[in-house]
């Protein structure tokens, strides 16, 4: 019956991981590509690498992989250019199939053409920009040097040399031609001071530098940066100085331009330069337009191309893992796949064979193997986050009980015990509902923000945590640190006992629950009585209550964990462990902490306020049980008659459990091993003339081993040490983990106190302002109170409670049954590959 339901499909069970089969796949060489791509679309097969020792460069399809990487490189280059121009890339959400190998050649040609075009356009643009820069600089020079010459012209009181600087008129004095030469150029503004200094030192002050800044920044053609430059002009006399000046200009990477001497020539040149600049501008803008058009056309398809190329590359990577068989016509692979989906895989293979037009069908053969299969848990969008929480600690062993389905309920529940505030729970619930209702829209947007993605992926767990916290807040009767009175408080101080004079004269009064006047006799029907919020001993009362329920829930969860270990032992047919591990564990836990819970319940039910002075202390009582110490003085009459005997009996049981857990299993294993050794040696001793009996002997020896595993020499020391560790871990762990569950009380106390302090320190200040100023103060102080509530109580406290709940699950709960020694099923799936690369890019 069970087998039929598995094969007919539907949602797998989350209780244990799926049954996996190791299969051999025989693929015809022509059909291999198509079949593997179909399996990639399906995403249910994990291929094993049959060539692990082979170098990456010696694999069969290394050329194809190299071609794919070339294509990816070209695509990345294109993408970079598209991003530089800020063109939006269309993401239609299309999922194209992996193209056939012959299509790959077309794709390569397209990408090559595009890349060449882009490179050409870029090179042209660069050359044009360089030209543009030169012309612009020249234009600036012509304009600025005009001012230098003009200045010199207007100043009449200059020396003869300065007049000669003009070069307009060559004035001859005393026979020596004092004709001064000049060079004009452009240099980076930052380099001017060292440039000037160098000129002064090298030419011994015999050159004259004038410089002025170019106001608009110029664009560097290579890097595209905007730089500030200055125009300079250097006047000197003689050839030696000229060559020196030229060398210094070269060293400082200043560009020199030929500047005509006469003003008329300069004006002509300037006009020519302006027209050339205009022409260049038009050519540049046309080049940019062309580039833009090419990129826009590419941007439409680039995402689809990326997906196609990645799929091809993934298929060839997988094909590299396969083995070529003897006849060289068939590719063999080994893989893991879930038994439930064998039908689907067969159909995918059939589709692949049909698509490639092959005649020989591909064969899927189940294999027997001794390796541990991978762990595969079928999850949907709701259960995925809980499975991830469990997997983060350790992946479950193959077909071990999966803690995830229980985590769905116990995680929000323990969280809510620590976070119990109905107001905060409501806010958390609303936020989660918003995320869930708009989830399709948010999924389409694909944000990059890691923190937001973390919150969004956990929206279902936040929803549950919020809902459970709302309930816990109503139970604790705590809404933003205030209690609400729905059913009418059961504490009613009457005017008989508490008359007006008594109230006026006393600061604190105590209400007595034992008489009928203060306390109605019937407790508040749902949650904490609202009167407790106003009492002075609220914390003492709540502490006692919260500690006890923490212990009850903690021991309950641990007991459940031990019961799950029983399920594991039964499934793996490990009867030794049931008798030697499960039984002593259960007895140990029940005798100490089960008994403690009985005492707690007894104290709650049987003892009321009239016996308050003599109520039995739970912790001291437990310690006394172990020390066999029964003190006579306080309230000895309160001890029930059989309790001493019962506790002594339980103590004996507890002490017996420890050697039971420690010794029995190694002893039984050793005896079994010795028995099999004796049997096999005795059987071998008998005559082997009957071949059948020898076979029987070997069969018998193998059957004796209950795990069906290979016979191994029994390493007694290892087993004893392992059992020792297990015993100590369990026994000490029981006690320390139970105490660890008290954090449920501690965090809930901290949360309640933080909430109260925030109200008292921030919002109460606003409410205490009298009169109409109170309106302004309430309006102003509400916002910081709200922001601090969100930041401290909703984010920080919730994160803290989440972490503590996680710890309680991972350590206190799972250490009772969970081995966690498996590895995840990692199928060959295009969706996974594309998603993971999308995060990268």
């Amino acid at each position: 019956m069970m087998k039929i339901t598995i094969i007919t499909g539907g949602m797998g069970s989350l209780y244990r991981s799926e049954e996996m089969a190791s299969c051999q796949l025989f693929l015809q060489a022509e059909a291999a590509y198509a079949c593997v791509s179909e399996l990639g679309e399906l995403g249910l097969v994990q291929f094993r690498d049959l060539n692990p020792d082979v170098n990456a460069f010696q694999r069969k399809f290394v050329n194809e992989v190299r071609r794919c990487e070339e294509m990816e490189r070209k695509l990345r280059f294109l993408e970079k250019e598209i991003r530089k121009d800020e063109i939006p890339m269309l993401d239609t959400g299309d999922n194209p199939d992996a193209p056939a190998p012959r299509e790959m050649i077309d794709l390569e040609a397209t990408f090559e053409k595009l890349e060449n075009e882009m490179k050409e356009v870029n090179a042209n643009a660069e050359a044009l920009k360089r030209n543009y820069l030169d012309l612009t600089e020249l234009k600036h020079i012509l304009r600025k040097t005009q001012t230098f010459f003009d200045e010199a012209m207007s100043d009449q009181g200059m020396t003869e040399e300065s007049i000669v600087l003009l070069g307009e008129e060559a004035v001859k004095t005393s026979g020596q031609p004092l004709r001064l030469g000049f060079v004009a150029g452009v240099i980076l503004r930052e380099r001017i001071p060292p440039f000037e200094r160098m000129l002064w030192r090298a030419c011994r002050g015999n050159v004259f530098l004038r410089q002025t800044e170019i106001l608009t920044p110029l664009e560097d053609p290579v890097t595209g940066d905007r730089v500030h430059k200055s125009v300079f002009i250097i006047f000197f006399q003689g050839d030696q100085l000229k060559s020196r000046v030229k060398k210094i200009c070269e060293g400082f990477r200043a560009t020199l331009y030929p500047c005509p001497e006469t003003q008329a020539e300069r004006r002509e040149m300037s006009l020519g330069v302006t027209t050339r600049i205009e022409d260049l501008n038009t050519i540049l803008s046309q080049t940019q337009d062309h580039r833009h058009r090419v990129l826009v056309a590419a941007a439409k398809d680039i995402k689809v191309w990326f997906i196609k190329v990645r799929k091809i590359k993934a298929v060839y990577h997988t094909l590299n893992m396969l083995n070529l068989d003897v006849t060289q016509k068939c590719l063999i692979s080994e893989c893991w796949c879930p038994i439930r989906d064998l039908e689907k895989i067969q159909m995918a293979l059939r589709r692949g064979t049909e698509r490639s037009g092959g005649s020989v069908p591909s064969i899927l053969n189940r294999m027997e193997t001794k390796e541990q299969p991978p762990t595969y848990n079928c999850t949907n969008k709701f259960t995925k986050v809980f499975q991830d929480i469990v997997d983060s600690y350790g992946v479950a062993g193959y077909r071990e009980v999966n803690p995830a389905p229980f985590t769905i309920v116990s995680f929000p529940f323990l969280f809510s015990l620590m976070f119990g505030d109905a107001g905060h729970g409501t806010l958390m619930l609303l936020a989660a509902i918003a995320m869930v209702v708009f989830e399709k829209r948010i999924l389409r947007q694909k944000s990059d923000n890691e923190i937001w993605n973390m919150f969004f992926d956990g929206r279902y767990i936040i929803l549950l945590m919020g809902a459970f916290s709302l309930y816990a807040g109503l139970m604790y009767n705590d809404i933003f640190s205030k209690s609400i009175n729905i059913f009418g408080s059961v504490w009613h101080p009457t005017s008989g006992e508490f008359s007006a004079e008594i109230i006026k004269t006393h600061k604190d009064l105590t209400l007595d629950p034992t008489n009928d006047t203060d306390y109605r006799g019937v407790p508040y029907p749902f949650g904490m009585d609202p009167a407790w919020q106003l009492s002075l001993n609220k914390i003492k009362w709540l502490n006692s209550f919260k500690m006890k329920i923490s212990i009850i829930f903690g021991v309950g969860q641990m007991f459940f964990g031990v019961v799950l270990s029983l399920q594991n032992h039964r499934f793996f047919k490990d009867s030794i462990s049931i008798f030697c591990e499960f039984l002593p564990q259960v007895i140990f836990l029940t005798c100490i902490f089960g008994y403690l819970i009985v005492l707690i319940l007894h104290k709650w039910i049987a003892i009321d306020a009239t016996d308050a002075g003599c109520a039995p202390s739970l912790l001291i009582g437990l310690i006394n049980m172990f020390l066999l110490n029964y003190p006579e003085e306080p309230c000895s009459s309160r001890v029930p008659p059989g309790q001493k005997g019962l506790q002594s009996f339980l103590l004996i049981l507890i002490i017996l459990c420890v050697p039971w857990l420690l010794v029995l299993k190694p002893y039984i294993l050793k005896r079994r091993y010795q028995a099999t050794q004796q049997k096999s040696s005795s059987r071998l001793g008998t005559s082997t003339e009957d071949g059948k009996s020898a076979e029987d002997a070997i069969d018998g020896a193998i059957q004796d081993d209950s795990h069906g595993q290979y016979e191994e020499e029994l390493n007694l020391l290892e087993i004893v040490v392992h059992q020792c560790i297990h015993t100590i871990e369990y026994c000490l762990g029981c006690i320390s983990h139970t105490a660890s569950y008290l954090r449920l009380w501690a965090l809930s106390l901290a949360h309640a106190e933080l909430s109260e302090v925030l109200w008292n320190m921030v919002f109460r200040v606003a409410l205490k302002v009298d009169g109409y100023l109170g309106v302004i103060s309430i309006y102003i102080l509400f916002t910081p109170w709200a922001c601090l509530t969100i930041a401290i109580l909703l984010l920080m406290e919730a994160l803290s409670a989440f972490l503590h709940t996680l710890r309680l699950h991972w350590i206190e709960f799972q250490s009772k049954f969970y081995k966690g020694d498996g590895y995840l099923f990692d199928p060959f799936s295009f969706d996974k590959i594309i998603e993971s690369r999308a995060d990268e890019v």
Binding site: S483, I484, N485, R764, L767, K768, D770, G771, F782, T783
Partner: protein, 99 residues
């Protein structure tokens, strides 16, 4: 009206706080109006003045009513803030759509 005084995230946050303020202050005002004892410690009780009145309960009732009215008026101001932040949000949306 064309230049928003805060960006989209700021106005969204203001809108959220305003809604929370409206609901919470309205409910708080209602609880003050029905003389909830939980809120007794939040009242601006002037002890010497009250002692002079011989601890008359009407003094406290009056304070409760005043606190309720204060809360409701503050809730009303938050309604105005909410409308303002919605307008800012619309302006921001229009700007981001057009640019």
């Amino acid at each position: 009206m064309t230049i928003p005084c805060c960006g989209p995230k700021c106005s969204g946050f203001c809108a959220f706080i305003s809604v929370w303020g409206i609901i919470m202050l309205a409910v708080l005002g209602a609880f003050f109006y029905v003389h909830a004892p939980s809120l007794a410690e939040d009242l601006p009780i002037n002890m010497p003045l009250w002692r002079k009145q011989d601890y008359n309960y009407n003094y406290v009732k009056d304070l409760y009513r005043k606190a309720a009215v204060n809360c409701w008026i503050a809730a009303g101001i938050y309604v105005a803030t909410f409308i303002l932040s919605c307008i800012m949000l619309k302006i921001n949306l229009r700007q981001s759509n057009s640019s």
